[in-house]
């Protein structure tokens, strides 16, 4: 594949190395000549210095023959403009972009960005998962084709008091799917009518952003009975 990467920052550089080692052809566009020079020293002649929101620069980078353009700068406005240019002027098949402000995901999607990588949420979720034991629904992976839904983990707390009820009686939103139950021995099963959720279990579910408050309130509320 021929991939054009915009931005020779941490993400762009890492991506460039990764793609080259997988045998793809790449060009990296960056405005700073120093970054271009450093990158070329490591990877050979791969860089084009210039502003990726200028069609002449993208032309020089060969976007018209590229399979994918990936925008990785830390400025959402530049990433968006670059992707729109690549699609509109150059007819690229796939435009991928990181987005720094998660609120912009929907807009990017509406404006034709094919794949959106919410870097801020990825990092936050990772921190939550690894470093904080909190009464929170932990995001594991986003759902493809749906920016509002994720696969989540719910670590059932010690004060969970509905261990006598089948899961389908839980007052959760209809679009929340409890997919797997992992008990404290690490045994994984799909919940059925006989399943009873116990403190210490980990539930893997698919949930929408809007449902998370309801899910959190149900699993982590301190008072008994509901």
């Amino acid at each position: 594949m021929y991939v054009v990467i915009v931005g020779a920052g941490k993400i762009g550089t890492s991506l460039a190395k990764s793609l080259i080692s997988e045998g793809h052809e790449i060009t990296v566009v960056d405005m700073q000549s120093l970054k271009c020079v450093l990158l070329d020293q490591i990877l050979g002649q791969v860089s084009v210095e210039g502003n990726a929101t200028d069609p002449r620069v993208l032309d020089k980078a060969g976007v018209s023959r590229a399979d994918i353009l990936i925008a990785t700068t830390n400025k959402d406005d530049i990433n968006l403009a670059t992707c729109q240019l690549a699609k509109h002027h150059f007819g690229i098949d796939k435009a991928i972009s990181t987005v720094n402000n998660p609120d912009r995901k929907e807009l990017f999607s509406l404006l034709g960005v094919d794949v959106i990588i919410d870097v801020t949420s990825l990092i936050m979720d990772h921190i939550q998962q690894k470093a904080l034991s909190s009464n929170e629904v932990v995001h594991l992976i986003p759902i493809p084709n749906n920016v509002n839904k994720s696969v989540v983990a719910i670590n059932v707390p010690q004060n969970f008091s509905f261990g006598d009820r089948p899961t389908k009686t839980f007052p959760l939103p209809d679009d929340t799917i409890l997919a797997l139950v992992i008990n404290n021995q690490g045994v994984v099963s799909g919940p059925d009518e006989t399943t009873r959720i116990q403190p210490g279990d980990c539930l893997i579910a698919v949930a929408s952003k809007d449902s998370e408050d309801t899910i959190r309130d149900f699993f982590y509320q301190a008072k008994k009975g509901m």
Partner: protein, 147 residues
Amino acid sequence: MLQFNQRESGLKRVVIMGCNEFGILVATSLANNGHTIHIMDVIPKGFNDLQSNHLESGRIVPILGDGTLQQDQLRASVPDSDVFIALSNEDTVNILAAQMCKILHEVPTVMCRIDDPNIADMYNKLGIIPINTTSLASDMIVTKIGS
């Protein structure tokens, strides 16, 4: 959240992003014609150059905020506005803000400063009116030399 005042007929509620010389000039002209302007910028320095009579009357209201953020667009009452004009010094910032206003808030008239003539017409089909400063200036120079 700042509200626009009761609307008088024919007069528009305008939000301008970019309290730079361009923005101040446009805001003042529009205010002189009776329109109400919310002018926003991330740096408050430009607010000092707004005309005090318009500030006092509430014709021009400065708002410290980022026109590319939803919450700041809401604070500036973008959803209730008739016109949004993106006049910051950066094309990409203007383009992002303008598209947000058109698509997310359906502001009837959205104008967007784009300095780069190569991309000025890309957003026309969304109904965004480009203000291509470079072409305008260039055309004017050529016309003057020609005559």
